[in-house]
Symmetry: C2
């Protein structure tokens, strides 16, 4: 029983990072077409006031996209861009930019 | 007179980027000691939820630090870090991280 509990805990511990890696980079790249106008075709932005996204931490990117979508972070340009995103869109976009 | 106006416009145009470059990278590096715990000694963060700052656009970094300081962007860790920063501190920190 004790080993069963340990196995379950180990199983949960292992499944969390695996789930986070299940994001679809190719889908993120396709979705990123509407981001490229400001953040650049390769995630290097065209304006000093807009952040580079290339190589940024995926967890941070996803957290910020959710914050824009949910209104806890406000920006006149990013709020409307993030509003229609699904959770999967957000994970895919974050994985794509993080991979660059 | 026309040439004088042109010269003034040119002078103002040239002075804006020069003013932006007047930030003190060495002072920014010294000030960044308290940022390194989360954002890494070289601006690459230790946690997927915290952003890399190395090579980020200086204008964007300064805008976000001002937003944290002034309360227009809220974060339980960054708000208290940014509160005591002067405008010069912010420009120097932004220039330092952008230079990495």
């Amino acid at each position: 029983m004790n080993n069963l509990v340990k196995s379950c805990v180990l199983g949960v511990s292992l499944s969390l990072p695996l789930a986070a890696q299940a994001a679809d980079i190719a889908a993120g790249k396709a979705k990123a077409a509407s981001c490229a106008g400001c953040h650049g075709a390769n995630g290097i932005s065209n304006n000093p006031m807009w952040p580079n996204l290339a190589g940024q931490k995926a967890g941070y990117l996803a957290k910020q996209l959710r914050a824009f979508r949910d209104g806890t972070r406000q920006d006149p340009m990013m709020t409307p861009m993030a509003k229609p995103l699904s959770d999967a869109d957000i994970e895919n976009l974050a994985a794509y930019y993080s991979s660059l």
